[in-house]
Amino acid sequence: MFERLYVMLMKEFLELRRDPWAMFRLIVPLLIQVVVFGYAATFTVNHVATAVLDLDHSQASRGLISHFVATGRFDVVDIAATQRQITRDIDTGRAVVAIVIHAGFAQDLNNGRTAPLQVSVDGTNSNTALIALGYVSLIVAQFQTEQMQNAWPVQAGVASPRVAASLQERPWFNEGLDDRWFFIPGVIATLTFMQVVSLTAFAVVREREVGTLEQIMVSPIRPFEFILGKTVPFFLIGLGDVALVTIAGVLWFDIPFVGNPLVMLLGATLFLLAALGLGLMMSTFSRTQQQAFALNFFLVNPFFILSGFAFPIAAMPRALQWFTLINPLRYFLVVIRAVFLKGVGVDVLWPDLGAMALLAAGMLTLSVLRFRKSLD
């Protein structure tokens, strides 16, 4: 058995080596993608383009605007003179946030009335808008506090009136709230997933279409050995991918790796087995490479979107949350993020590892069974 398996493996690696583009296609795009996507995937909201219409021209109104600029969250791109100009800025997308300070702002403040402050946000990008609005209310609250403290001693002889329940928030595992730390492990998992699934999905179909499957079938090799021989190279490629991309993430992006590499290895192994199973299954469902390709294209995308990579699973409708349970990427994302950032071990991650093991066993068995049937 081992001899036959060895021969099969030799054949697969030879095939890979004789294709001058294969190694290039496997490695270079992967590295480029890690770097590009690592930088691209961010929800951070900084330097929001802001238009200002100050109709008050007072010390207070200028003070408020400088509060906005000082945070670094808002960049004033336009100091408008009319309301129309502000509307135009938002319509054309030149500004995302528009602040309108009406005439009489400072007077209202000094007389103890509430002064209206109009802030318009382009809600097209709801996430940016939501976060920007959060910053706006925080800045306004700070400004107000300062105003009150400045005004207090004149009014009464008592000490500072602040009664405050303050919030001391400490973000664990990612103290700088740097969302690159969140996305790069995700990029690693996703890239590996896509590569392994697409390679495997083609593996058997290609032999069939080119006509070499019959040659293999007349050889003494058994279906199980054939599948093993087909998948072992991809498994190794996948492990290499994970290692390569992880190193790139740690060295290039300075993502901390606080966990145990062995836990990562265990997670990656189970994940790759599940991904191989998925790819093989697609392979057994298609007669031509075009079909395999189409299936791959259309299944990989939902698996990617519904994995929790960018869109939180908790925000999905219940039915889709159920669907994510059969998604190996979902579990590996939990594992890889936890190993990178939290440094927890098997005692915490066993449900996810177990789920991947189950998926791997299920899909591999199913595809071997289906494959055997399709040979007859």
Binding site: V36, L117, Q118, L167, P312
Partner: protein, 378 residues
């Protein structure tokens, strides 16, 4: 260019598509499935963040504060904990995203010194969710503070509002409910179209090579341009069908408001379909194996469209060089146009830049693709 030969090629390709019902079914049904799956799956709305509560004091004030967290609608109590170790444990297991610790002397300190702190820790693995959740928590605390302040002032017989307050009037334009689906679903249409288009056309030529029918094709009198147009026509029709379905689903099923002009939408959609098919065709001509062509096509479409088109991640927040890279991601322009047409109701005048970019792209791709195909073996 002869219309007869063009028709013949188009007819042959249509027959080939038609007689491969599995591929046709995939081309027609998969976009529908994707639209439903992804349309529901792409939400960034963070509600009901699970919180662990460690109330050391357990007084009326502290309980009131906990109630405020839950009553805000942003948080739910996942667990009530009794010691510091349990907090760490719950966070490790992902039982909650945040933990609120109210210190043992919270209400006493608040009453005597006028200031007391509530500690919260957040699992910041998902930095985006966490920063939004922190924002919510700050809002809850700010409200509670205002309440404590007035009751404290009342107890001390002071009128608290001596300086005027600022009344913040936030107005959200174009997407009034800040619904993340309205923002993302138009982008999903671009992703699906990009995938279908590339998938359809990227194997057309490499298949001829691999199956050995290329020699037959070359020995016929068709010209390179006729091959290209003839091969793309049936896929263009399929692509437009998929596009129409996806756009209808966006507007009618997911109820994303459509405020722009229908003509502009159709024209730009056709243009985008053309670009996508052209790219697939180009890949197909250059790479002779189907596996290679599919890998390149997948690499050129899926992740770039998902990550670099601005459909989830805002382009203006990316570093400069990456922003430059997004200029060649054709989906970027279509996503911009779709969003502007759906939510903003922009006119053609507002969209000159992205439309011109797409036109330029289409012309360039078609020109390169037409020249890339050579009737030559080896």
């Amino acid at each position: 260019m002869s219309p007869r030969r063009l028709f013949a090629i188009a007819f042959k390709e249509t027959l080939q598509v038609w007689r491969d019902p599995r591929s046709l079914a995939i081309a027609l049904l998969m976009p529908l499935m994707q639209m439903v799956l992804l349309g529901y799956g792409v939400s960034l709305d963070i509600r009901r963040v699970p919180l662990c509560i460690y109330d050391q004091e357990n007084s009326q004030t502290s309980r009131e504060l906990v109630t405020r967290f839950v009553a805000s609608g942003w948080f739910v109590t996942a667990r009530t904990l009794n010691d510091e170790r349990a907090v760490r444990d719950a966070m490790d297991h992902g039982a909650c995203i945040g933990a609120v610790t109210i210190p043992v002397n919270f209400s006493r300190r608040l009453a005597s010194t006028g200031s007391a702190a509530v500690q919260t820790v957040f699992d910041a693995t998902d930095a985006n969710t966490t920063s939004i959740a922190i924002g919510y928590a700050q809002g809850v605390i700010a409200l509670a503070t205002a309440n404590f302040e007035s009751s404290w002032a009342a107890a001390h017989g002071i009128q608290p509002q001596t300086a005027g307050g600022v009344d913040l009037e936030p107005r959200v334009w174009f997407n009034e409910g800040l619904d993340s689906r309205n923002f993302i679903i138009p982008g999903v249409v671009a992703v699906i179209l990009g995938l279908v288009g590339a998938q359809l056309s990227s194997l057309t030529i490499s298949r001829e090579w691999e199956r050995g029918t290329m020699e037959q094709l070359i020995s016929t009198p068709v010209t390179a341009l006729e091959v290209m147009i003839g091969k793309l026509v049936p896929y263009f029709v399929i692509g437009l069908f998929d596009a129409t379905f996806c756009l209808c689903a966006t507007a009618f099923w997911f109820q994303v408001p459509f405020r722009g002009s229908l003509g502009t939408l159709l024209a730009t959609t056709a243009l985008f379909t053309l670009v996508v098919l052209g790219i697939g065709y180009l890949v197909s001509v250059r790479i002779r194996s189907q596996l290679g062509a599919s890998q390149i096509a997948l690499m050129l479409t899926m992740l770039p469209i998902a990550l670099l088109s601005g459909y989830t991640f805002p382009i203006d927040q990316m570093p400069g060089p990456i922003q430059a890279v997004t200029l060649v991601v054709y989906a970027r322009y279509y996503v911009t146009i779709l969003r502007a047409l759906f939510l903003k109701g922009s006119t053609i005048g507002d969209l000159t830049v992205p439309i011109l970019a797409l036109v330029l792209y289409a012309v360039a791709i078609i020109w390169i693709a037409a020249r890339a195909f050579r009737k030559r073996l080896g």
